[in-house]
Structures are given as structure tokens and as C-alpha cells.
């Protein structure tokens, strides 16, 4: 079978069994190894990607379910610049606040955070923690991740202010 999906804005046609995990399609077939596997059973959130803007754990999504849909991964966050990729405000906030340590949960964490920011929800500490509750981090104690998302939310607010 062949399936069509749009990944980070690029159309792909993937010939693979329909029950192949989206995670494996991304990592092995498309060479997008930024998305990580931590448990393979939907508990850790390391493989979180956005499917039509909604965070999903790609280890539990079969390829057939992504057919015809838009997938966004960590590779789709930074934008192209003349001298190479430019970090998104969310990525920059993680870098400055210390939200990434070992980095293995980071791609999934960023995608959950991106979905939260895009939702326009009020970025209270409680709401942020709830938004990333499905993404386990063993390094940070979450403090600096929450700070980073708050920081990015403030920046995003400024972007949409008049004149921005």
C-alpha cells in the first residue's frame, strides 16, 4: 500500500504496510530522526508529533491513520535563514531558560508545547504543566521547561501586539 502524508509542509508518498508505526516511517523511511522513541507504548511522550496540529504519540499511530494528514515534527520548528536554520522563539526560549538537558525528551516536549502555544490558552503555570503532562523528562524537574514555555508564550503575545 502507498500512503500520502504532508510532513513539515512537504508531501511524501510512502509505500509501507499500513500498520507500520508513524514513528518508524518518520525515523527510518523519511530519515527524520529528530523524533525519539523512549518506551514504544505511549507512556513517555518522547515521540510526540503534531497530527493536523494535535499532539499524538507517533509510536501508537499507524501509518494508515496519518494518510492524507499533515504531520509536524521537531525538524519543522526552526525556519530557514540565509546562513542556516533559525530557532523558533519556543526553541530559543528552551535554550536560554535551560529547558533542555540531555535532550532526548526535548523534541516531543517542544511539539506538545507548540500545540499548547498555538491553542491560545492562557499560559498559567498549571495550564502549561497540564499541557506537557504526557511528556516525561528525567533531567530537569520540569521547572525550567515550564519557564521556557512561559517565556515563549510572552514572546508570542508580544508578536501579536499592534505594531509587532
Amino acid at each position: 500500500m502507498s500512503y500520502e502524508l504532508r510532513v513539515n509542509g512537504v508531501e511524501f508518498e510512502v509505500a509501507a504496510p499500513g500498520m507500520r508505526r508513524l514513528l518508524d516511517v518518520l525515523r527510518e523511511d523519511l530519515g527524520l530522526s529528530g523524533t525519539k522513541e523512549g518506551c514504544g507504548e505511549g507512556e513517555c511522550g518522547a515521540c510526540t508529533v503534531l497530527l493536523d496540529g494535535e499532539p499524538v504519540v507517533s509510536c501508537l499511530v499507524p501509518l494508515c491513520q496519518a494518510d492524507g494528514h499533515a504531520v509536524r515534527t521537531v525538524e519543522g520548528l526552526a525556519t530557514a535563514g540565509p546562513q542556516g536554520p533559525v530557532l523558533s522563539p519556543l526553541q530559543a526560549a528552551f535554550l536560554e531558560a535551560g529547558g533542555a538537558q540531555c535532550g532526548i525528551c526535548t523534541p516531543g516536549m517542544l511539539m506538545s508545547a507548540e500545540a499548547f502555544l498555538a491553542s491560545g490558552a492562557d499560559p498559567t503555570e498549571e495550564a502549561i504543566r497540564e499541557a506537557i503532562a504526557g511528556n516525561l523528562c528525567r533531567c530537569t524537574g520540569y521547572t525550567k521547561i515550564v519557564e521556557a514555555i512561559e517565556l515563549a508564550a510572552l514572546g508570542r503575545g508580544a508578536d501579536t501586539a499592534p505594531g509587532a
Binding site: 508531501e11 538537558q101 540531555c102 502549561i128 521547572t143 514572546g155
Partner: protein, 767 residues
Amino acid sequence: MTITTRPGPATPVSPAAPSPVRLPRAGELARGHARGAPLRREGPAKLTGTALYADDLVFPGAWYGATLRSTEPHARLLGIERDADFDWSRVVVVTAEDIPGDNVVSLIIDDQPILVPVGGEIRHQAEPVALLAAADRDTLREAKARLRLRTEPLAPVFDPLVSSQVFAHFDMGKGDIAAGFAAADLVVEGTYRVGHTEQLYIENQAMIAVPREDGGMTVTGSLQCPYYVHKALKRALALDSERAVVIQAETGGGFGGKEEYPSLLAVHAALLAQRIGRPVRMIYGRHEDIAATTKRHPAIVTHRTGVTREGRIVAQEIDLVLDGGAYCTLSPVVLSRATIHAGGPYDVANVRITSRAVATNTPPNGAFRGFGAPQAEFAAEMQVNRVAEALGISPLELRRRNIYREGGVTPTQQVLRESVAAQEVLERAAEAAEFERIRERTARERAARTASARTARGIGLALGWHGAGFTGSGEERMGSVASVELTAEGAIRILAASTEMGQGTKTIFPQLVADELGVPYDAVEIAPQDTSIVPDSGPTVASRTAMVVGGLIIKAARRLRAQVEERTGRPFAESYLHDAQTWGGTREDERFEPYPGVHFDDETYTGDAYPAFGWACAVAEVEVDLDTGEVAVRSVVSADDVGRVIHPVLAEGQVEGGTLQAVGYATIEEIKLHDGRYLNDRLQTYLIPTAVDAPRIDAILVEAPFSGAPHGAKGVGELPMDVGAPAVVAAIHDATGVWIHDLPASPERILAALDGHEPPGPPGISA
């Protein structure tokens, strides 16, 4: 773009260096620094998904490897039988007899085999017996199911208290213990137990072995200690140093769990790769990782404490037993740290501490952040809090009367000459958390509580210490080397085997060297952790990287600077490019020299057990659900003396992360066992705290520098792990009035204590 791909062997993806990543421009949010300190060096790669962890590396033509394990806790291996109906030509199987070198993963003693030989003894449920490799995962899975072990069962031992096999034991103390108890007005006794816990790095263990053209082997993987793996590889494959090469891939967390196990996994991958003559990938799934790799040692600690009416502790008698599991691994060293820290940070005149690490038929236990100290200090702090209750003295005040100060003498007869910050961390944490004020409030709430109350709030405090770096003469024996070079091309490069696993090595090392040389942070490079490139700087463990290896590279940089300035007559920063062009490259290797005035006697086990100690205090606030026994940890204030803060954001990150691991240890993390096997060996059943479970953590960094290190740093990684759990359990007591003696303080244990029932079975013991 449209591409058509097929599953199967992965499409080769070039593991080329990622292109440079830029921060957003001014006005696009970025400040370009982390509170005045440099940004994490490898941060952009991690944030864009271009950092390459072991499983992200593509080696064309690689096969997949798997491990066949025992399923019994104790047995004699009689044979390994292959199903005759299976086509074995598509698979390679390696057993003990195929090992070219010694069949041993050596750490301290040579007891653990790489693979159990036929006729040999199986000593735990997850013991590797045979290795398999195939070109695809399906064939591999099928082949593994077609191998059978023939065994003869032997009687297992699960209870460390009845085990007769002792890996190590200690008996240390000072003063006159009988006289101490004679002088006491009150004697308090208690036994505390903790079970196995899992490091739970989010990246599972992973190794890829690639045969070399020179007949040797290159292994790339997730690891903390390149030279431990190097040593194991050389011995197992009978290779010389040059033909065994170990490279660290980006590593997704370690916490001690990637100190020793990577040696075994690397050898497994290498044996298969050598046999097939092509790369072999061994990437564990979560289930295998939890089932087979090392855990924190369970411990049983018994205290007897004599105290005067005025609150002066005059006698401590402590017995500590660690369950080492089936093989020795690092247990003697874990035991020594546990023993030395067992009394807590208190200057007691009369002390006797006995301890032993014993064997059981469970998978070997090993390094996990704190390395024996969290177990020992949980018991010590429980005991001190119970003494405070028995005396009717505030836990804060009781500590003030007993803590180490400069000139204090430890149980190894170490005189604490400098850098003693017990009081400072105690006062800073207590003040920031408003300990006494909130304690008065929770006492009033407790007194006014009626039977219809549904929740109870409490506050608790714990104090701890953590010996900086290796115990005793470990550092001297290791003789670590680290280097700084000015290349002929004018690059400044650090050469050290210290690994980055999230804690910040790749950021703080260039910081230290840049400061010493007076050049910008970005001008200093760090060489890859590849044994063919960097010297043996020792393992990345024991919170030693910033203090010990950081000290070495500062000294190397200092010598480099002096050389260049002598040749050019100008400041280094202005002249090093010219110096390199004129004179070519200069490399300064710095070997560890014992710190001035620090001596330890291995024979009598007395003297300076550590060059210095770090000090920490945690104050936790909890809310206990009186119906369900569930604990919500609301906040933790942790004050940690790290000697000198090199990077505030990274150091705070260590304190916050260590504190949450301690909260998990206190409340939810527990491996349950049946017949010597871990029952909750997956992430659905072994729980760690989520962002919603995590308290607000307030890290306070305290600086009491150690004069022996050129920069004063004492390390930060393990310190916060020592104090979080006893603070949380003290807070549960403050809320409910019951003491939970065993970790974790699970709802089952709390409800049993509230109802006056027998608690569920002790942690760490197989049913």
C-alpha cells in the same frame, strides 16, 4: 517533493555534522545567553532534532542484535538448543565459547560473565546466555523464540539478611560507643528500608559495533565512561588499545545507569559484529532496559541513637546492609560511600558503623545518582527527625546543635578543615521556606483536625552532605589526564573523556578554559569523546567532572597560556593565532595530582575520605489525602553548596532535576519483584513524576569553595538526591503524625500507618 520509500533496512542518512543553527534576531525574543552565562553548547542541535543519539546513527548494511536471557533466578545451564525446523543460515548465534578473550565484564572482581557458559551458573532472571543477530528485526525475533535453554534449577536467595555471600564489609567509628550511650538521656532506635529504583534515562541503552579494517572494533553508543567500555572491549575481544575504539554518541541521560552496563552491551554488540564482519546495532527497548540493567541498591539500615536532654547527639550505632544482586559490579564502592555518609552531617563523638553488601539472585544493582548516600542519608535523616520528635525539639534546632562545623571530625577521622556549609544551607533553606512559621501553622491545623478532615498539610526538613569526587584514594589510583591544545591551525581545543549527558560538561569546560585564557567562550572547542582522540580523564561519575576534570583543564590552560605568553611576550588572547602560525601546535596534558594535605589510608580506612564535602538542605511541603493515602508534594526548597557555581542555569537544573528524582524516590518509585524478576518492568507500571506531579522547586545555590580545586567547585549532580526523600517523609509525618519507615511512602504504606495496620511487605524483597 514526492519520494517513494520502503520499510526495511533504514535509508542511509548521512551522519554529517548539522549545519550551524542561529538564534532568532534581536526582537525575536532571544537574549542570546542564559542569565549572563553561555548557552548550552550542544543545545541548538538538541532543540532542532539534529543531535545524533545512538539509534539515530545509520550504518549501511548493519544487522540487528538481540540477547537471549535466562528466565530463572538460579540454575545450572546444561545446554542451549536450537529448533531444528528453523533456517539458522539467516541468523548468527554467539555463545560463551565464541568469546576470543576473557568471558568477564570486569569492574572490581572478575565474577560477571559476558555470557553464561554451558555448565556455568545462572545467577539471575535476566542473565545473558546467547546473542543473536539478523539482517531484519522479524527474523531476529523469530530466531530468538526458537532457542531453548536446558537448565537444572538451584535454590535462589532473595533476602539480603540471610545471604551468606558478602561482596564487601566495613566497620568504622570513633570515640567510645558504650560511654556514649551511658551519657545519653534518651536512646532512639529505628530500622529503615528502601528498595530498587530505576534511573529511567529516557534514552534506552544503545550500542552499535562496527568492525575495523585493522581487525579491531569501533563501538559507538550511549555511555558515561568511554574508557570503562574500552577496557571491557579490549579484554573480551583480546584487542590492543589502538584497535579498540569507543565513541560516545549523544547520550539521553545516565544518572549512573550508563556507568557500568554499557560495557556489557558494547561487548555483546562487538562479539556479534566480529562474528558477522558487519555493523551490529543493539538498541534496547524499554522493557529489556528495565528488566536487565542495574538499579539503585536496596538497603536495610538500623539506627540506635543516644542523645542528651539538651539535644546533643552523643552516640550513633548504625548497621547498613546493601543488596548487591547477583554480581559484585560496583557494590563495594557504593557500600563505602553509604557507610561513610551513614551518620549524616553531624559531629557525634561516639560512632560505630558496620555495613555489608551481599549477593542475592536478582539482577546486579549498580550506580544511581548518589551512589549509596541517598539510601544511607534517608535513614540518618529519618532518625534525626524522630529524635527531635522524641525530645520535643524543633528538627531545625536539633540540627543546629549537632551539625559539622569547621574542625569537625568524621567517622573516618577526617578533620573538616574548610568548606563546611552545613549551617549555611540549613539556615538558607529554612528561611526561604519559612520552615518554623509553617510548622507552627501545620501543628495548629493538626490539633484542630476532626475525623471528617479529608486532607492534611505538612512541612519537613532534611540535611545532607555528599563527599566530592571519588572515595578515598580512588582519584590518586585513577591518575586521570585531561588536555588543552592550541592546534597548528590556531584552534583552542579541550581533550577530555568526560561525557555530556545533559548535565553540561560541553558548556562548562569551554567556559573554564575561556576564562583561564582570556578568550571568548566560542573560541574554545571541545574534542569528541572518542578514545582514539581524547585521553583517559576517568569516568563521568561521582559528581567529579566539574571539580576534578574541570580542575585539570584549568591547569592545562594555565600552562598553555604561560607558554604562549612567554614566546610572544603578549597576552594570550592577542597572540595565540600568531603563536600557532609561528610555532605550530602546543598541547598541554595535565595528570591528576593529589590535593595538598589530603590523605587517605586504604589499610585502616581512615583519613580524608573525600577532598571536600558538598552540603544540602531540603524543605518540602506536602498535602496528604487522608482517604486515599496519596501524597501531593507542593513545593521543595533545596539549598545546595556546590563550592563554586560555574553556570547558574545548569547548576540549578541539576538541583531541580535531582530534587524531583528524590521526590519520586520518596513517593512513587518502587520495583516489585516476584521470583527474583522485576514485575513492573515497563513504563506503564514503573512510574516517575510527570510535570503535574512535580512540586514547585526552588533551588538556592550556596558557595563554600574548596581551596584544592583551582576554581573552588565541589560538584552538584548527586547532592540534591540525598535530601529530598527524607524531607518529604518528614512532611508526611508533620501532616499525619505517622512515620513511614520504608520507601516509597506509597498510599498503601500511608493508609496502613494511619489505620494502624501492618504495612505491606518491605521494599526490595522478592515474593
